[in-house]
């Protein structure tokens, strides 16, 4: 995996629009704990598992000015893996296209991957997807996954109130379900209309239909914001950024739709010279059957390359974009269950919960699918079900915690009831209070 350099967009805004307020108010998005692990650790683990060589082509991590300190601290001090990371600090108001423009000289490989810092995904697909990209000489490949069906809340913890929390309004969910058109072989991506941009109608021009007369539009696929680009597309961006007012701001909203529209031949768009494909020529010169006198073979070389945008459908495995509170809760719950390839750092016990050795907990207080972090103290007669409790928390006596996420350094006084809630770092919950389905920040 030396041919693919990775760019992780870990700025606060990221690609697309996350709807995580208020829980990411005091914490960079990519450091949000998911089952007591920062989100970023999942990506680094993914790259490690997939075998990316980062010696000469370090992972470029784009961070905001505001949050750079915390993220750098995490990667340099806490992270122990062997992925080399180079940080690039990006101002807040810069679009993702300009970000790529800024780091263009740092991208050395022929292909590069752009992924969003909010993605948790199995590593199994990467090899196939990169192969597909290379084999088809694609310009751009996107990872799509079937959009998640509203999950039926787990029976055990399932009070009716909890169900109400889990079934968040699907309207927000729709924001991340784009309108995606694929060709008949489900290979080429023909149209990607971000749900945020779509108005009442999706419009297809007849020229497009002439080139792709049999296409299927899905409203059931999600863009995971994991993209592979060929290096030459950067040149389009470079050209564009030279303009007085660049056309492209956001990767997803402008640049990718543009790239997709370039697939139609005779679309008089100025593609850079490097878009021209010479691998065929190279192959011919290396082939033993071709001779320099064989003029016919020269005729067959396709000089003009048309842009090719492919889709890779994620079929099996775990994949989630943590971009809404609902998906944040879901990721926490599912990783705590321990059946995804990613596990919490805390040791797993037989009863399928994860408790750090330094935590002061009586195992009987804790139900399955729970994670409890370092040095957390649980008072007497507490009960914790389907919940995640971070590091250095103090929890008083007789507290009941169900289906909740409690981050680090939280103190909860006696006899509280916490259900379906998210309690952020350093929060304080007074004794006897009940929080149901709320998000508490400091």
């Amino acid at each position: 995996m030396t041919e693919f350099q990775v760019v992780i967009i870990a700025t606060d805004k990221g690609i697309g629009n996350s709807k995580l307020a208020p829980i990411d108010d005091n914490l960079p998005h990519c450091l949000l704990p998911v089952a007591n692990r920062p989100l970023i650790s999942y990506q680094l683990e993914l790259l490690e598992k997939a075998g990316f060589q980062t010696k000469n082509t370090p992972v470029l991590m784009l961070v905001s000015e505001r949050s750079q300190g915390k993220i750098k601290q995490y990667v340099s001090e806490i992270y122990k893996g062997n992925i080399e990371v180079e940080f690039v600090v990006i101002k807040d108001d810069i679009g993702s296209c300009e970000m790529l423009y800024r780091i263009k000289d740092k991208i050395k490989s022929n292909y590069f991957i752009v992924m969003n810092g909010n993605l948790i995904v199995d590593d199994s697909f990467i090899r196939q997807m990169t192969d597909q990209h290379r084999a088809n000489d694609s310009s751009f490949t996107v990872l799509l996954k079937p959009s998640t069906k509203p999950e039926v809340p787990t029976k055990t913890g399932g009070s009716s109130k909890q169900a109400a929390v889990v079934e968040a309004p699907s309207k927000q969910d729709n924001l991340f379900t784009d309108y995606i058109a694929l060709d008949e072989k489900k290979e080429k991506i023909i149209l990607m209309e971000p749900a945020t941009e779509a108005e009442d109608n999706i419009v297809f021009s007849k020229t497009l239909l002439k080139n792709f007369p049999n296409l299927t539009i899905y409203n059931s696929l999600q863009d995971t914001q994991f993209y592979i680009f060929s290096r030459w597309v950067l040149e389009i961006l470079v050209e564009d950024q030279k303009k007085h007012i660049p056309t492209f701001f956001d990767l997803k909203k402008q640049f990718i739709p543009y790239l997709i529209s370039c697939q139609i031949p005779d679309n008089n768009k100025n593609l850079p010279a490097s878009a021209i494909n010479d691998t065929q020529e190279l192959a011919l010169t290396m082939s033993s059957t071709s001779s320099p006198f064989n003029a016919f073979s020269q005729l067959n070389i396709q000089k003009k390359k048309i842009v090719k945008c492919l889709a890779y459908l994620f079929t099996s495995g775990y994949c989630i974009n943590v971009n809404t509170i609902k998906s944040y809760q879901m990721a926490n719950r599912e990783i705590a269950k321990g059946y995804t390839p990613y596990l919490p750092f805390e040791p797993r016990s037989e009863k399928n919960f994860f408790i750090d050795q330094t935590a002061e907990v009586t195992p009987t207080q804790v139900g399955p699918n729970c994670v409890i972090g370092t040095s957390t103290k649980l008072g007497a007669k507490c009960s914790v079900k389907f919940s995640i409790i971070g590091k250095h928390c103090k929890i008083g006596d007789g507290v009941r915690i169900e289906n909740s996420i409690i981050m680090d350094h939280v103190s909860i006084e006696d006899k509280c009831v916490i259900n379906g809630s998210i309690i952020c770092n350093d929060a304080f919950v007074k004794s006897g209070s009940q929080t149901i389905g709320t998000y508490l920040t400091k």
Partner: protein, 680 residues
């Protein structure tokens, strides 16, 4: 409102569906024997489309054979225009006495739309079961049984599946696709339910409302389907037509209404053919391509040498040449590939025939050249005639040394005179319009007396909105260039709609110019030029102003414009305008004259050479009654008030003329009558 009516219809039809169960499984089909359009005029003025010979066998026979071979037991042929001919034909054909198949004709004299026809069928109460609704001009070898079975299971699953439409997969530029057919079909990719059906040539974009995705998570949008006009319908379809008396067409009204109605749960489904053949002879181009397909045996078993109508005797020889018994080829005549020759026809010495279909009992003289043409029965073609890509209907004659250009239609019994050269795309017919007070007829088509050489008989028909047998070269080029420039980039999307109107307009301008030029060159009567332009005006839905603006530049054309002096130029322009002003004045009216002047200004702006001649243009238009003095004054006033100095250029140019006009007016205020005489 229409929807409420339908509801009651659904209730009414439910009683008829209970009947279904009792009645036996006799398969029924309704053949629409009338196309309700004028694509084949002037031929169809004398003979119904369904009886036109396609590779020497009437179209209807293909449709009936297709239905009969699919196990349909009862066929109703519904005819409107020329119903006697169809009745007569069926009575005398083998269809009238086939075991296990009954072919009945129904006559609806007053029907002018498909909707009327379906209502008439509903009221005759002959249809009890699901039935096949097919146009009488469909050629197909598809396996209808399979489609029927699929329709049946869909019906069993959901009673609301009232119709299954048959589509054929073919590339957007497929030869059997009619130029009018530009349908984009939206289908639920899992259930194959029809979601959207848009067929509009004008629209360059297809809109798919986002709300569709609520019910259908994935939608297949297909531009590679040809509507075969074979529909498997349930009796409810007829009931719905009966309840909605405003439905005229299945495609335009019925399907559109069902798909957009939120109250009704009726569903339409699709069935897509991949390897089977189905095509509708919709217009002349499809007539051409379907003929070719039959010759190339795509329609097997419906090919000439199969002699499926049992009254032919074709045999196939190499290079796709089909000949019936009794064909006389004299001397050194040459019969090239893709040719069909009917019984009793005779081809003279040194004649050359290829890519053509010759009917029965034709007599073709010496040294004749026929390429890519359709010569129906009993035609006479005398010596030294050349026919290229034309249709000659039964009994037509081309006398010695005449030439028939491409795209021509020589209708029944018309005669092309000696040495006469028929211009490309001319249509000649003998048909006389009996009921001249029928206004619809006049609007769409009309006969114009034309000289057809010595002994020639016939009138020229000018048709609008009709597709030609072979494409007019310049038009096809335009279409190509259009598609090249059509961009899909999102940034320019908003301007695209405007662009469409623009290209349409440009086409119109080009055609008008062409017409005027041709008219002037051929010294046609000015009335005829007027008539043609009027036709174009309706065809493109343009106003009189556009006509004026289009015609004027042709009249202003001066040879060697760059080298001649201003004086020469003005005199030529004046001469031209006064000669052809009649064409202009026909379109000129008070309301548009002011705009017309502005358009002239614009034209001069674009063509530097004419700037100097502006005054004389205006003057001659005024003298020839195209522009009134009121309009000129009005224009002068408006320009005067214009802030922009540039626009004053023209005003200054013709200041002299305007002053003269003003003086003339003041003088004439006393003697009004005089002034009018002067104008003439």
């Amino acid at each position: 409102m229409a929807v409420e009516k339908k509801k009651s219809g659904a209730g009414g039809s439910s009683s008829s569906t209970t009947l279904d169960i009792k009645s036996d499984d006799k398969l029924q089909a309704v053949v629409l024997g009338d196309s309700f359009d004028r694509q084949f005029s002037p031929i169809t003025l004398e003979k119904p489309r369904t009886l036109l010979p396609l590779v020497n066998i009437p179209l209807l026979d293909y449709t009936l054979e297709f239905l009969a071979s699919s196990g349909i037991a009862e066929i109703f042929v519904f005819c409107c225009a020329h119903s006697e001919q169809i009745k007569e034909y069926i009575k005398n054909s083998r269809w009238s006495n086939l075991p296990g198949l009954s072919v009945k004709t129904m006559v609806g004299k007053d029907c002018i739309t498909t909707g009327d026809a379906l209502r008439a069928i509903y009221n005759s109460h002959v249809i009890q079961n699901d039935f096949v609704l097919i146009s009488g001009d469909v050629v197909s070898n598809m396996n209808l049984t399979k489609a029927l079975a699929i329709h049946k299971t869909r019906r069993e699953q959901d009673k609301d599946n009232i119709m299954t439409m048959v589509f054929k997969q073919a590339s957007p530029s497929h030869r059997t696709r009619s130029k009018q057919d530009d349908s984009v079909v939206g289908v639920d990719s899992e259930t194959l339910q029809l979601i959207s059906f848009q067929n509009s040539l004008e629209k360059k974009k297809v809109h798919l409302p986002i709300s569709t995705f609520k019910k259908h998570p994935s939608v297949q949008l297909r531009y590679d389907l040809i509507d075969c006009h074979i529909d498997i319908c349930s009796p409810e379809v007829l009931a719905l037509f009966n309840d909605n008396f405003d439905f005229t067409d299945i495609r335009k009204d019925f399907i559109h209404d069902i798909l957009s109605s939120e109250l009704l749960d009726y569903k339409l489904s699709t069935y897509v053919l991949q390897n089977e053949y189905a095509a509708r002879v919709k217009d002349l181009p499809t007539y051409h391509s379907v003929s070719k397909d039959i010759i190339h045996r795509w329609t097997f078993p419906m090919v000439p040498d199969n002699n499926f109508m049992c009254n032919t005797s074709y045999s196939l020889s190499r290079q796709m040449i089909y000949k019936e018994r009794g064909v006389k080829l004299l001397g050194d005549c040459f019969v090239g590939e893709e040719t069909v020759i009917g019984f009793g026809s005779q081809i003279g010495e040194s004649s050359h025939i290829s890519h053509s279909i010759i009917g029965r009992n034709c007599v073709i003289g010496k040294n004749v050249k026929i390429v890519g043409s359709y010569i129906w029965d009993n035609c006479v073609i005398q010596d030294n005639v050349t026919i290229t890509s034309a249709v000659m209907c039964c009994g037509a004659r081309a006398l010695e040394n005449s030439t028939i250009g491409k795209g021509c239609i020589i209708s029944f019994n018309a005669v092309i005179g000696h040495d006469y050269n028929v211009e490309e795309f001319t249509k000649i017919s003998l048909y006389e319009n009996d009921d001249s007070d029928n206004e619809d007829e006049d609007e769409d088509a009309s006969g114009v007396a034309i000289h057809l050489g010595k002994d020639g008989v016939g009138k020229q028909w000018i048709t609008v909105d009709q597709l030609e047998l072979v494409p007019r070269s310049e038009v096809s080029q335009e279409i190509e260039s259009e598609s090249d420039s059509d961009s899909v980039c999102s940034e320019v999307e908003d301007y695209d709609e405007v662009g469409d109107v623009e290209t349409d307009y440009a086409k119109f301008i080009a055609e008008v110019k062409e017409t005027v030029k041709r008219g002037i060159n051929e010294k046609l009567l000015l009335e005829n030029i007027q008539l043609e332009i009027n036709g174009l005006k309706f065809a493109y839905d343009r106003g009189s102003l556009d006509c004026l603006t289009a015609i004027l530049p042709v009249l202003l054309e001066v040879p060697n414009i760059k080298s001649i002096t201003l004086k020469e130029m003005t005199s030529t322009i004046q001469k031209n305008i006064s000669k052809y002003a009649k064409i202009l004045s026909k379109f000129s009216s008070e309301e548009i004259q002011l705009d017309f002047i502005f358009n002239i200004v614009e034209f001069c702006d674009e063509n530097e050479e004419y700037k100097a001649a502006f005054q004389s243009i205006l003057h001659s238009l005024y003298e020839n009654d195209v522009i009134s003095e009121e309009a000129i004054f009005e224009w002068a006033d408006e320009t005067e008030n214009d802030e922009d100095e540039e626009n004053h250029f023209y005003l200054n140019k013709c200041r002299q003329f305007i002053n003269w006009l003003k003086e003339a007016e003041e003088e004439s205020e006393d003697e009004d009558d005089d002034d009018e005489d002067e104008d003439d």
